[in-house]
């Protein structure tokens, strides 16, 4: 596992190998897999019974019921389909500061390991493109970790809702975990909405630096957007920081509501958070992993 050690220690990877992603809904791909669906199929789980009709496959006849009741009944099995885990990492310039993008990659690595062990189809998508095409099985773990650790440095200037739309356009169903600070001029709720429409359960992870959560008074200064280079003249006053924190709370509330109403999840993290602690404790406590 070249490069994996730089993302997560082996002991963490070992523990994540036993964890499974807990989707809120059942959004699976058409392809045959291990995830039971609501539709009928040939899976191991019995979904229902119905009267036998001429031409039915006798392999699905419940002989025990026939012997007991004297009337043939046919077992209906659940269909088991595979599920995509799309890891969307915002690698715009705003994520380059304070280790936000690094934390995103390490969390994505952890989820990728858990997903590959859970027979998910895992792919990684960034503004630069698809770092990792959908892969499946434990054999792809090294490839996934390698792709995450060797990713090009941040530098894109695209909005996160465009990246979400790009992911939604790929026609995959399952879970889409979006790692971003959601600090751009786009509509983050729209991005999550596009993912949900496309059949991807939107899980949003917002990573913010300490200076973004609780900034120092800027004074009378021209603030420059690290991503776009845009300038904003700010004249400090006593209420400016209060209004900033209120705006941050509104954004967090918007993301949480957007994820919740689309059967998704939301988690806000500080950029200096311990990824192992987040993966093994916080996500498990919140039911993201089991």
């Amino acid at each position: 596992m070249a490069g994996a050690g730089r993302l997560l220690p082996n002991r963490t990877l070992a523990r994540l190998a036993r964890a499974r992603l807990q989707a809120v809904g059942r959004r699976t791909a058409r392809g045959c897999g291990m995830h039971a669906t609501g539709r009928g199929g040939t899976g191991a789980d019995i979904a229902d019974y119905r009267d036998y009709a001429a031409g039915d496959d006798l392999r699905h006849l419940d002989w025990h019921a026939f012997a007991r009741l004297g009337k043939p009944y046919l077992r209906l099995h659940r269909r088991e389909e595979d599920r995509h885990l799309v890891l969307i990492i915002d690698d715009s310039r705003s994520m380059a500061s304070a280790g936000k993008e690094t934390l995103a990659r390490r969390l994505a690595a952890g989820l990728a390991v858990a997903g590959l062990h859970g027979d998910e189809r895992v792919s990684v998508l960034t503004h630069a493109g698809e770092l990792l095409p959908p892969v499946r099985g434990r054999a792809a773990i090294a490839r996934a970790l390698g792709a995450l650790s060797l990713a090009p440095p941040p530098g894109a200037r695209r909005r996160i809702d465009r990246l979400c739309a790009d992911a939604a356009a790929r026609g995959r169903r399952g879970i889409a975990v979006v790692f971003s600070d959601f600090l751009d001029d786009g509509d983050p709720a729209a991005g999550l909405h596009r993912l949900a429409i496309a059949g991807l359960e939107p899980w949003a992870v917002q990573i913010l630096a300490a200076g973004e959560r609780d900034p120092d008074p800027p004074g009378d200064a021209d603030l420059i957007d690290a991503e776009t280079g845009a300038t904003l003249a700010v004249d400090s006053d006593a209420d400016l920081l209060h209004r900033y924190r209120a705006a941050l709370r509104r954004l967090e509330g918007l993301l949480a509501a957007a994820a919740r109403t689309r059967a998704g999840r939301f988690l806000g993290l500080a950029a200096d958070a311990d990824p192992e602690r987040v993966l093994l404790r916080d996500l498990m406590q919140r039911g993201w992993l089991a």
Binding site: S94, D181, L183, G211, E212, L232, L240, Y244, A246, A247
Partner: protein, 613 residues
């Protein structure tokens, strides 16, 4: 109330707003700070609370403060003023400045009320509005214009520059007459009188225009000479009487010194009482000046009343002309000291005669013995019979110490039919001695200022020459003549217009005063010179041909010395309350407030730029 502009051209300064805007736009870059994203900052700036007008204003507060400062400076330069509703009246105002002696009192801050008045007047001049004209008037011992109506601040300021306190009280009646004359020239909005409140209790005049009384601060403790005179008690000895008064604020003691030619003749300490009467006898040379100097024990805010002068007359013998046949008078007068009795002295000081023509002499005192004045001839009848003395006016100087009760008179002096004392008084006669039937001795004023006495009965037909009262009467006549001639007593004259008698008739006299003051006047046929203005205390000299006469002049005004302060001006029918010195210009200029606002705005801008949140 409307707003006017004194210098509207300065409103063009508002054009500086464009350079201010340009400088604001080109101002040095503010500190640049890179942030990960502007979204939250932008959201906080777009917060409804940030959109509050106060927040929007605060965003460019420095610009707004600069523009507000510029606006205040522009408005101040244009010198706005409030029009107080006098628009219908002519914009002509009279500024009257009290220049009486009390206006020169030293204040606690070292200034004088006159300096404060000039400053207040200058402030009013500085607030001149377009079309407004001021006329300056000085009101001291006399009222005078300092120029015509003018709107030129420099001209008006120059007129104020020469104002000094005068040695005299405020003549408000003259001021009212002058204001009436000014009002007669054209409509005036009113007048402002800048004064320390040392004004007469009442002024017998009417205000020809509205008067505003602007009271200024007045001096504090003061001690001064308010009257003084001297009387010869013996050859070479004079009894000097001085009245000294203190201001209402504080009574303080002092020391009075009497000097002659620099030599100290007497010195007397004074107790701290409001009024002190001092009598000091000194040995002083005649025909010289006595200087009376007061040295208060403490701060004395007015020094002009600390000195007074007495001109001691030249000692000479009294010249008496007695008509022939009046031997009793001749003997009685010859017995008096320093008296020369002659029959035909044309320049006699005292004339005693039994002929009416002799009484028309220019002598200051004349006595007609058995003479009935022509103007009294129809009121009094003198005939055979007898008369007795019924009443004597012992208060008259010539009748002092006389006992006439048993005087026998061999003539009957009686009032004519329907004549009485009132009729005689209407004709200018005073009855000095009443007889049982009519007047016995009457007095009248002579045309030249002297006195004329008429003994209506002939003394030789009475027992008067044999009575003790006769030499006493002769002595009283001599003393009275000396008094009228000013040979035995002298007084210090108050400053102001002098009327001097005893000069050569129809001649030009010249009056020289301290500081090189010279003025001249023409005497009338009686030798009276009038209209000479002795406007400062000190020794003066009257030049009458080849004769020189010393005059002692002092302030001698109790009102000025007491520094009384009145809160209103009582005219004949109106009372003008005090408004305070600031009131006259509080309603005028606004530019000081605007200038102060500009400074405050700039200071606030500086603080805003350097504040720390």
């Amino acid at each position: 109330m409307s707003l006017g502009w004194s210098s509207p051209a300065w409103l063009a300064l508002a054009a500086l707003a464009f350079p201010v805007l340009a400088l604001f736009l080109l101002r040095p870059r503010r500190p640049r700070r890179e942030v990960a994203a502007l979204a939250l900052w932008r959201a906080s700036l777009h917060d409804p609370r940030a959109g509050h007008p106060a927040q929007r204003l605060r965003r460019h507060l420095s610009l707004w403060l600069a523009l507000a400062s510029l606006a205040a400076i522009t408005l101040a330069a244009a010198r706005p003023h409030r029009n107080l509703g006098h628009g219908s009246t002519a914009d002509r105002l009279v500024l009257a400045i009290d220049t009486s002696a009390s206006m020169g009192a030293r204040l606690a801050d070292g200034g004088t009320p006159l300096a404060a008045a000039v400053a207040a007047a200058r402030a009013r001049i500085a607030a001149l509005r377009p079309g407004e004209c001021l006329c300056l008037v000085a009101v001291g011992a006399r009222a005078r214009r300092l120029g015509g109506f003018s709107d030129d601040p420099r001209t008006l300021g120059d007129a104020l520059a020469g104002l000094v306190p005068e040695a005299g009280a405020t003549d408000l009646a003259a001021a009212c007459r002058l204001l009436a004359a000014i009002a007669h020239e054209g409509p005036c909005r009113g007048s402002v009188l800048f004064t320390d409140g040392n004004l007469p209790a009442t002024v017998d005049a009417e205000a020809p225009m509205p008067i505003e009384l602007a009271l200024l601060p007045t001096g504090g403790a003061n001690l001064g000479i308010t009257a003084c005179a001297a009387r010869r008690t013996a050859p070479g000895r004079w009894r000097v009487q001085v009245r000294i008064e203190a201001s209402a604020a504080t009574a303080m003691g002092g020391q009075l010194r009497i000097e002659q030619d620099g030599d100290l003749l007497a010195e007397r300490p004074l107790a701290p009482v409001p009024v002190a009467e001092v009598a000091i006898e000194v040995a002083a040379a005649d025909d010289r000046l006595l200087a009376l100097r007061l040295q208060p024990y403490g701060p004395d805010c007015l020094t002009i009343d600390d000195e007074a002068w007495l001109a001691l007359p030249k000692q000479r013998q009294l010249r008496v002309r007695v008509a022939s046949g009046l031997d009793a008078w001749r003997r009685a007068l010859a017995a008096q000291e320093d008296v020369i009795v002659a029959d035909d002295d044309a320049n006699a000081d005292l004339v005693i005669s039994d002929r009416s023509a002799d009484l028309e002499d220019a002598a200051p005192l004349a006595l007609g013995d058995g003479v009935v004045p022509v103007s009294l001839a129809d009121l009094v009848e003198v005939g055979a019979g007898a008369s007795a003395v019924a009443d004597v006016r012992h208060g008259e100087p010539v009748l002092a110490h006389l006992a006439l009760a048993d005087l026998a008179i061999g003539e009957r002096v009686a009032w004519a039919q329907a004549a009485d004392e009132a009729a005689a008084e209407r004709r200018g006669f005073r009855i000095l001695v009443h007889g049982d039937s009519g007047p016995l001795l009457v007095a009248a004023q002579a045309a030249g200022g002297g006195e004329r006495l008429f003994l209506l009965f002939a003394s030789r037909r009475s027992t008067l020459p044999w009575r003790l009262a006769f030499p006493l009467l002769a002595g009283n006549l001599v003393d009275r003549t000396r008094a009228l001639r000013g040979l035995d007593q002298t007084v210090c004259l108050p400053t102001g217009l002098l009327t001097l008698s005893g000069c050569a008739p129809g001649a030009e006299v010249r009056l020289r005063g301290p500081g090189g003051t010279v003025m001249s006047a023409q005497t009338d046929t009686d030798g009276v010179a009038a209209g000479l203005a002795a406007d400062r205390p000190g020794p003066w000299i009257l030049e009458d041909g080849f004769r020189h006469r010393h005059l002692g002049i002092g302030l001698l005004d109790p009102g000025e010395t007491r520094l009384e302060r009145r809160q209103s001006l009582q005219l004949r029918e109106t009372t003008v309350p005090a408004a305070g010195a600031a009131a006259s210009h509080a309603a005028g200029p606004l530019w000081p407030w605007l200038a102060a606002a500009a400074i405050a705005l700039l200071a606030f801008d500086w603080w805003w730029m350097h504040r720390r949140w």
